[in-house]
Structure formats: structure tokens, C-alpha cells
């Protein structure tokens, strides 16, 4: 075996070090339970914490579906869009993040996100799977239950798993922005830090009674919150956060060599199509799974998801057909994904026919963002992570404020604009806060990483392609 390359070892040890550091500081930081401002975690009464197995079956399979979204789904969708020499690079990013983010989630991510605590961040409650994993209680194996009585109940392990799959796909989405030029070691450290500093706080803010939480008992914003954002399955937490960060990323890392000059067509649109189809299927787990049980709401979210995807898959290529003469496969796939992104925050709160409208709007607006806007401002968002997720997510968050209806939510008063509610204002505030937060933290992170590790591979490595330069492999050897 050869000698250990010091630079390589260094770039390997960096992420490991970062992770250890954070884990340890998180542990020590929260060594004592936070005294101020505790939010009582909604738990089922001690008496009979139990769960319905039909709900549970649906949550287990939903978790599997959401993992499938990252790979094969996103790996194929993104992999097909890059040039051949970078296909493994982009697939590796997806696959490696499945490993990395999972360990982060297991050690401290879930605890920071869903561990209760103040309005900013979670606690050490679930560090290292404490209070999540089974334990003997009076000699009986007992699985801690995550429940809100009347709303849902499941083993906390399952809740952790389901939510953990979101933690994987979110940074993976960002990879679309700096595809074909990002240094792999830097990507690893960036994802780790971004997950910790952007995702966990935002997730806690929206879904764990934090700064942007909505209360489903009083049907108003949570006591701690500055705005109650209705975010069913991650419009804010997943798509806005990743989409905005993607924009910052692609601006700060700069354009690909030869951008605007050399042709950079997708090397394998069959992969992209297959990936888009898998995203569509997996999104049922993402959205209908976010009902947290096999409920009527799950059926509603499933329908909204399906309809929005369908509408998007018609709107985008329809516009191309009208304006350019031909409907493209890439347009059809992109439209479906745009529709899916847009319906994400709304899926469990709107009627199916509204979902069709949202899908049409998403297809049209994202089409505009990915063609006209991008060309105008000339940033190189390689795979349109911002154009689809940032724009589509923002649109979805706002349209949730328009279409959310008490017929679906069950709130006593009106919600969305169409029924005369005022939700839209809250949605706008929450969206603004999320955008600002994600943008600022991403910016700072990248600045630091730029001076310490460097964001980009060398020119030569970029010309060679990431497959060989970062991983020493080739995607296809067809001889």
C-alpha cells in the first residue's frame, strides 16, 4: 500500500474533526437542560402511549420512499443533467450524504431539531438516540412514542427516521447549484455545517414549536413564534432553505469554466427522466407521509401532490410548445418537479383542485426563472437548484397562504386568501425570515470555507471532470 497522502488525509480528517467538535460541543452545551424558555414537548399521556399499526406501516414505507428520493431519485435526476465526466461526482454527492447526514442526525441532528427547547434550537434530549431507542421498563421492551394526542402517534424511532430522510435530501438538493466544480472535501464539510447551522434551527423553528411554528390545537401561531408558517412537508425547511442557499453557492463559487461559451448539454436525459419519475413516486412518501399516519389527510396530501406534479408536467412543456415550438422531455420532468416543490408546504392544507392550480403556476413561474431570469442575471445555477427549489418553494409557501382552507385543516376561522383569511401575511413573513437566515448563514459558511479549504477544484481537475479528479473513477467504460 502506498504512503498516505498528507493533503488527502487532511481533507478527510477535516469533516471528521468538524463533526466530532460539534457533537462534543452540543453535548456539553446542553449538558444541563436549558432552564429558560422550555417548550413542553407534546407527549401522549403516560397512561397508554401506543400507536396504530396501519399508521406505522405507512410511516415506515414513507421513510423508505423519501430515502429513495435522494438516491436513486435525485442521483439520477441530477446525474443525467451534468456532462458525462461529472456524472459520478454528482451521484457520489447524493450517496455520500446519505451516509454523512444520517450519522449527524443520529448523533445530534435530531436532538437539535426536534428535542424541544427554546424557540431557537432544540435540546440534548435525544442526543445519541437517548429517549429515542427502546429501553426496558419494568422488564418490558418499551419504544418511546412520539405523539400529539388526536393528531398522530408512532415510535419516536420512526419519527426520527422519517425526518432524518429530509435531512439527507435537503443538502443534496443544493448540490445542483455548484455541480461540476465543487471540491468534494469542501462539500462534505459544508454539508455537515449547513445541516447543523441552517437545517436544524429552521426545522426546529417550523416543526418543533420554534420561531415559525404553527399551533394545530389553537390554529394560530405557536406562543413562541414570530410567525406561524403553515409548512406541511417542508416548503420552508427543505425547499426554500436549500434553494436560497443554492443561489448563494453558485454565485460565490463562480461559473463553470467555459460557461456560456462551451456547450454543456445534459449527458443523459434518460437518467433525468427516470430520476424525475422516481422523485414523483418518492414524493408521496415525502408529502403524504407528512400526515404522519395513514389518515384521510394523507390521502388528501397524496392527491394534492399527484395533481400538482401532473399540472406542472403539463405547464412547463406547454409553455415551451407555445413559445419555442417543441415540448421537451426535460421541460416535462422539470415541470413535474416544480409542481412537487410548490405543493410541498401546502399538500395537507389545500383541496386537490387548488393543487392543480399551484402546479400550473409552479410550472410557469419556474420555467420563467430557469430560462429568462437565469439568463438575465447570468449566475451559473448549473442544474437549477435555485430556479426550481428556491423559486418553487417560495411560490409554494406564498400560495399556501392563498389556498389553505379550513375545509381541509379544520381550523375554526378562515385561513387562505381565497376564503378571506390572513394566513398569507404570516407565510410571507416566515418565508422572508427563512430566506434571510439561510442566505446569511450560507454566505458566512462559504466565506470561511473558501479561505480555509477552497470551494473549487483546480482548473485542470475541472477540465478532467470530477469523476476522475475527485474519485479516480470513470462513469462509463463502454469498450
Amino acid at each position: 500500500m502506498r504512503r498516505i497522502a498528507p493533503a488527502a488525509a487532511f481533507s478527510f480528517l477535516l469533516p471528521v474533526g468538524a463533526w466530532l467538535l460539534i457533537t462534543i460541543s452540543a453535548t456539553s452545551l446542553f449538558g444541563q437542560a436549558p432552564a429558560v424558555d422550555p417548550i413542553t414537548e407534546p407527549v401522549a399521556p403516560a397512561a397508554a402511549p401506543t400507536f396504530d399499526k396501519g399508521d406505522h406501516a405507512w410511516m415506515l414505507i414513507s421513510a423508505a420512499l423519501v430515502l429513495m428520493m435522494t438516491a436513486p431519485g435525485l442521483a439520477l435526476f441530477y446525474g443525467g443533467l451534468v456532462r458525462k465526466k461529472n456524472v459520478l461526482g454528482v451521484m457520489m454527492q447524493c450517496f455520500f450524504l446519505m451516509g454523512l447526514m444520517t450519522l449527524v442526525w443520529a448523533t445530534y441532528g435530531y436532538s437539535l431539531s426536534f428535542g424541544g427547547g427554546n424557540k431557537w434550537i432544540g435540546t440534548d434530549e435525544y442526543l445519541f438516540m437517548r429517549n429515542v431507542q427502546p429501553a426496558l421498563v419494568d422488564g418490558v421492551v418499551t419504544y418511546p412514542i412520539e405523539a400529539v394526542p388526536g393528531l398522530f402517534a408512532m415510535p419516536r424511532l420512526t419519527h426520527m427516521l422519517f425526518q432524518g430522510m429530509f435531512f439527507i435530501i435537503t443538502p443534496a438538493l443544493i448540490c445542483g447549484a455548484f455541480a461540476e466544480r465543487m471540491k468534494f472535501s469542501t462539500l462534505v464539510v459544508f454539508s455537515l455545517l449547513w445541516g447543523t447551522l441552517v437545517y436544524c434551527p429552521l426545522c426546529h423553528a417550523v416543526w418543533d414549536g420554534g420561531l415559525l411554528a404553527y399551533d394545530f390545537v389553537t390554529f394560530e401561531k405557536s406562543p413562541h413564534a414570530v410567525a406561524g408558517a403553515l409548512d406541511f412537508a417542508g416548503g420552508t425547511v427543505v425547499h426554500i432553505s436549500s434553494g436560497i442557499s443554492a443561489l448563494i453557492c453558485c454565485i460565490m463559487i463562480g461559473k463553470r469554466l467555459g460557461f456560456g461559451h462551451e456547450p454543456m448539454p445534459p449527458h443523459n436525459l434518460t437518467y433525468t427522466t427516470i430520476g424525475a419519475a422516481m422523485l414523483w413516486v418518492g414524493w408521496f412518501g415525502f408529502n403524504a407521509g407528512s400526515a404522519l399516519g395513514a389518515t384521510g389527510q394523507a390521502a388528501g396530501a397524496f392527491a394534492a401532490t399527484h395533481f400538482a406534479a401532473a399540472a406542472g408536467a403539463l405547464a412547463w412543456p406547454g409553455l415551451e410548445w407555445l413559445l419555442r415550438g417543441k415540448p421537451t422531455v426535460l421541460g416535462c420532468c422539470s415541470g413535474a418537479v416544480a409542481g412537487l416543490v410548490c405543493i410541498t408546504p401546502a399538500a395537507g392544507f389545500v383541496q386537490p383542485m387548488s393543487a392543480i392550480f399551484m402546479g400550473l403556476a409552479a410550472g410557469a413561474v419556474c420555467y420563467y426563472a430557469c430560462t429568462t431570469i437565469k439568463n438575465k442575471f447570468k449566475y451559473d445555477d448549473s442544474l437549477d437548484a435555485f430556479g426550481v427549489h428556491g423559486v418553487g418553494g417560495t411560490l409554494g409557501a406564498l400560495l399556501t397562504g392563498v389556498f389553505a382552507t379550513r375545509e381541509v385543516v379544520g381550523s375554526p376561522g378562515p385561513l387562505g386568501l381565497i376564503e378571506g383569511g390572513t394566513l398569507l401575511k404570516d407565510q410571507a413573513i416566515a418565508t422572508g425570515i427563512s430566506i434571510a437566515y439561510a442566505a446569511v448563514v450560507t454566505f458566512v459558511l462559504l466565506k470561511i470555507l473558501d479561505v480555509t479549504m477552497g470551494l473549487r477544484v483546480s482548473q485542470q481537475a475541472e477540465v478532467q471532470g470530477l469523476d476522475y479528479s475527485q474519485h479516480g473513477e470513470e462513469g462509463y467504460i463502454f469498450l
Partner: protein, 112 residues
Amino acid sequence: MKKIEAIIRHFRLEDVKNALTEVGIQGMTITEVRGFGRQKGHTELYRGTEYTVDFVPKVKLELVVPEESLRKVLDVILRTAQTGQIGDGKIFVSTLDEVLRIRTGENGPDAI
């Protein structure tokens, strides 16, 4: 010994090959190539980014023939590869110094 290189359209290959075997040609070699010429390529549009494909796929036929067959073979190719549309391709003829068959080491016309 002459070497004929013909750049032709993909979908004429089958006919050209058959016509050539009919006049007694027993061997040839083809390569996938892409050509740039009067026949313009096309523009593809991927999410608003135009991508101009200047080079269109063609097939290059290489065959080595003894001097005396040259005209006959050229005729056959000209006839069968023609569609009359821009982009039918070219034929280049050059002279070889030597031809060898690897299997036997034979040299010259016998090697073809």
C-alpha cells in the same frame, strides 16, 4: 492499392454495404464520425440554454481496393449513398504503399 474513405449517411449504410458486396468487395471498415459542412446542424434547448449541434452524425467507410476496382467501387458508392440532399458526404481516395493481412502476413493485393 487504393484506399477509399467515404463519409456517408447512417441510413444509407445498409444499401451501400449490400451493393458493394454484390460487386465483389469482401472487406471494409466503418467508423462513427461527426461531420461539419453545408448541412447545418441543429439547435437544442435545455431549460433555456441553447446548445448548437454543429456536427451531425455520419459514418465513415474505409475500404482498400486494388487499383483496377477503384472506379467500379466509386461508382457503386456514389450511386447508393446519394439522396441528392445536402449532406450526402464525400469520398476521398489515396494511394497506399503497402497492405498486409495480419493472419497470414500476406502482402499486396492478396491481403485484401
